[in-house]
Symmetry: D2
Subunit: 332 residues, 4 copies
């Protein structure tokens, strides 16, 4: 389903090669300043261009169809769209017969009975995350005192990211990476256990982003090797500040006011220039597939701003939900 959120609720739509992509943002408090220019920095970070990303260039500035008047959110749903102007549809029919390994070609065929628009991967395309980033720009304004920053901390297993990308380009292959996101000055008290813990809300959004296959909070998987006496974060002052932050700023599914830290893994994009032995569903036998056309060597380079958006949306929805139940708190 294509909506998420309890109060700050986003509805995403669009296909890679359809007329437009976009998002509807419901539950945004009125009075927040919204201007097309505000979206440029984050949308530019998401866009292609650098070494290791595809060459698609588009005027991705959002058109605001609704919900903004005189530069401010009105309280009605905000609709942001952008046209798909740069569409070179590869011959998708081939991929019906020989679904690309690692792609959604096969599952889309099974699930949508052959009706899905798979040009440029359609609704499965990373391009759809444009809407997420756009909604993230609005979400970040809900909590102006909180900063969300994500960055790629390794690619292809190496912290020397540029070098790893160059090697992969030379090999005509793709590589994955790890992104770390840090949220500074978060409100404490956000998260609604049992079923809408901070981690639940965030991971739900994060796993909507194509190519993400894992998430860990705080010290994460390394906690499996620790003792409780090591893992526990002792409090050191009245604000709830802790000496260590193995919990990543979250106890019992609720933010404790310390920096929120999480990491996600981005798999190497499935599109590679390499030959692949795979099944020909029409021919009924194995075959060699070589996928032509542009691809991202390291899609992970473009994902940090999308991860930030998911985090900001989760924060916004949890903040507004908490405010609904508890009213405005002194401490916030």
């Amino acid at each position: 389903m294509n909506s998420f959120g309890n109060i700050f609720r986003t509805t995403i739509f669009g296909e890679s090669h359809g007329p437009a992509i976009g998002i509807v943002i419901d539950g945004c408090p009125p009075g927040i300043a919204v201007d097309p220019e505000h979206f440029i920095p984050d949308l530019a970070r998401r866009q292609s261009g650098g070494r290791g990303t595809t060459k698609r260039h588009e005027a991705d500035l959002p058109e605001i169809l609704s919900g903004v008047f005189n530069g401010f959110a009105t309280g009605a749903p905000i609709t942001l769209v952008t046209r798909n102007s740069d569409r070179i549809s590869s011959d998708y029919d081939e991929f019906k017969n020989i679904p690309r390994p690692g792609h959604a070609d096969f599952v889309a065929g099974v699930k949508y009975s052959g009706f899905s628009d798979m040009r440029g991967s359609g609704h499965f395309s990373g391009r759809i995350t444009w809407g997420l980033v756009a909604a993230g720009v609005v979400a970040k304004k809900i909590l102006p005192g909180t900063q969300v920053n994500a960055k790629l901390i390794s690619a292809g297993g190496s912290v020397n990211i540029e070098e790893a990308v160059e090697k992969a380009i030379a090999a005509n292959d793709s590589i994955g990476g790890i992104i770390e996101c840090r949220i500074q000055n978060p409100p404490s008290g956000l998260g609604e256990p049992f079923f809408y813990s901070f981690e639940s809300a965030l991971s739900h959004l994060i796993f909507s982003i194509p190519a993400i296959k894992g998430i860990e909070f705080g010290i994460g998987f390394a906690a499996a090797m620790m003792k409780g006496s090591e893992h526990n974060d002792p409090f050191i002052d009245r604000s709830g500040k802790t000496a260590t932050n193995n919990a990543g700023g979250i106890n019992g599914g609720i933010t404790n006011g310390n920096e929120i830290v999480f990491r996600v893994v981005v798999k190497p994009t499935s599109s590679t220039g390499a030959d692949q032995e795979t099944f020909d569903f029409k021919g009924g036998k194995m075959t060699t597939l070589r996928v032509k056309g542009r691809h991202d060597t390291c899609i992970a380079l473009r994902i940090p701003v999308i991860v930030e958006a998911a985090a900001a949306i989760a924060l916004a929805d949890l903040f507004l939900t908490d405010r609904g139940i508890h009213g405005k708190r002194e401490v916030l």
Copy 2:
């Protein structure tokens, strides 16, 4: 919030030391056999008893308050409860003054303005997962051809789990672990991108389980070090079977019919017998805290069946949602 699911929707309630804990299951198809005896195996797996788990023993057999008649689900909501008979309330007031590091004491105080019932950790207690396991038993019946199996594959950083537990008991400390879950014979086509991908639904439920701090699908975080040509899983036959399974049975957020594989990390339980230096919020200075009473040395020993339950609930909800949108498919 304490409900989850689009069609197969569970609502969980209860506190560790309140009168009862339980769960309401809505959207269960009528005609499924439900008997109190069916719950015994999974509830027993969850219960305490073995080395490294706490000594609490309770007759955790569910009472069925509604939704079952003559041994079959009726289509009305199924309510399952169990009484909390074994309640030794530790003096919780101390933890208001000196919140235990790693526990929910501090955040509960901030969020619920001092009104939460924190005896035995209240609604934050691992005991609440009883309801999840009970709902999992029902959920597993929705897809009888699919098997969900989770097990602890390492504890305290070691695959020799018994030895690791004994060492931790000797050290009067707690240890974490990693649980792997494998789902065999899953239907293909489950998952509703963009916002209700298979991974989104599952992780949302998984991060409701206390103490879980990370999840990865298929090859998971190791994908960051792989090339696309290595990570892609080539198809080898008409059913969609793949030669490798780095994607963990999920492409584009939708199951591809191969085995679903994921792992979660369980942090060491915060309750340890060790002294801890932490802040005394009443006294306004650092102090030494020693928490008395029973605790789990390795809570991860009890969590595999809870992980299975979360997976079965996600599968059930995604299956019924898919069936609603698409009708019954030949292939399922």
Copy 3:
């Protein structure tokens, strides 16, 4: 589905002759006083006893299973149940063969494939509204300055209600009625158009109550005969008070601070002592059905408190949702 509400979310369960009926209330702000005694007045109003209602007597005092500690809501879900102690199961098998006209017997058979528990009408029974009334008691505490009052204003087409009931008892038949509900001192600004207008939220809940077949707000159906210049309610002071109240306190789906007024129609209960010619599904021909056992002559006598509960729940959810989006307002 058996849950309703965006933030103040109730989940209802139970069958007339099952072990228990109840409700789970999620999203209740912590700190609200909740005691079993608080439920007595409203539950007593709902209960049977007076002339024209059935003779069933039960200790319907709620047991609080969760969410309340030391007499106050904790912020965790509140679960309220009561046992079904007075169960005389009529022979329901007869109604499978000869579904009672006006009852849910036929549709339950179609929908639940014969698995529903139809003893005493099961989950369709008016008895299930116990949970709604119980949740209403809690909901009324969320807006202590607002009073919700409903009463039966006509029965069997007559405003002389006692007389109408006596005549129906004498005729061994049942009669319907009209209930009017007035909400005094409501907050202004409640209602979330487009799809969660005040009327949408309220009518959604109201039509969950068995036997209600219509609702109208303010002057209601009579508006069809009015001119705009007559129907419009002129403002007369700065608070938004209007000279007339044809709109029933709601403009554009949002409360305007004036008294909220609505009426609902309750059909005569389907159970009557009269002979009925209807189809024998087993025998394949028309037959004469006489339903034995107790029935309500005028079920509408018991419904005002249920209507109040529905209104209070709608108000609570809309208030908390509004507070989430907009924060605490000076004017509230």
Copy 4:
């Protein structure tokens, strides 16, 4: 909130004088034929033009932004928009000072803190129902064997509708009306009690339509004057057909397969040419307001197709939800 539906979920957006209005339809089964031409008949019925409706003329043909490929729904969200080309913004500032009686001016000011776009009534405008009608066109395709037909059966209290409109035009006033909707050949078994009864789902949608102030099912409010023996609808054959249809095709919140019948009341539009005595919030005293500009004499003339859309959307969502829970039934 601006989304509705469990599976067939619509998200509506737009303001009367903003750039565009539209709707996103999620959960539409793939393979349904969708073409811009299909929308013309229903959108034309909704559009202004006849005697008693405003003169606004717009090319309201939808642009399909997503979710349709080669003329068929793909399974991804369908986004339909239309531009607001004919915008003459009246001076809205006046209405901030002197809110129009019966309009949303006052409540919008209270709720949205002055930020709402009230040009042409903004998000409160009847124009927003364009999206509802467009979604209704798609919803009607989900149940091709079921016909939904609504018509105006009285205006200004008279069944001679043309005459009533002419009289109102002559009086420079507006009039209300009553619309009856009949749904032929509905599937039986639709409706999900307790909280998502057929009447709940339908009334929720119906009360999203501006100007509707009441709804009744079957014999409706007249049931208050009937005896049970009169109101009960006897079954007359194996299909569940009933001799009478006082219940309007719904028992216990679930369709019984007979014709579904309901009526709604449309209040006279608040905009009239008449002088109105009302409060001047800036001046702090009563004043005479005369609203200039075009208005609908009888807005009810345009609403039947909107009522049909609401009914079709409710049917679609209840049908897909039922199919999810129960699978495909022989009888459907």
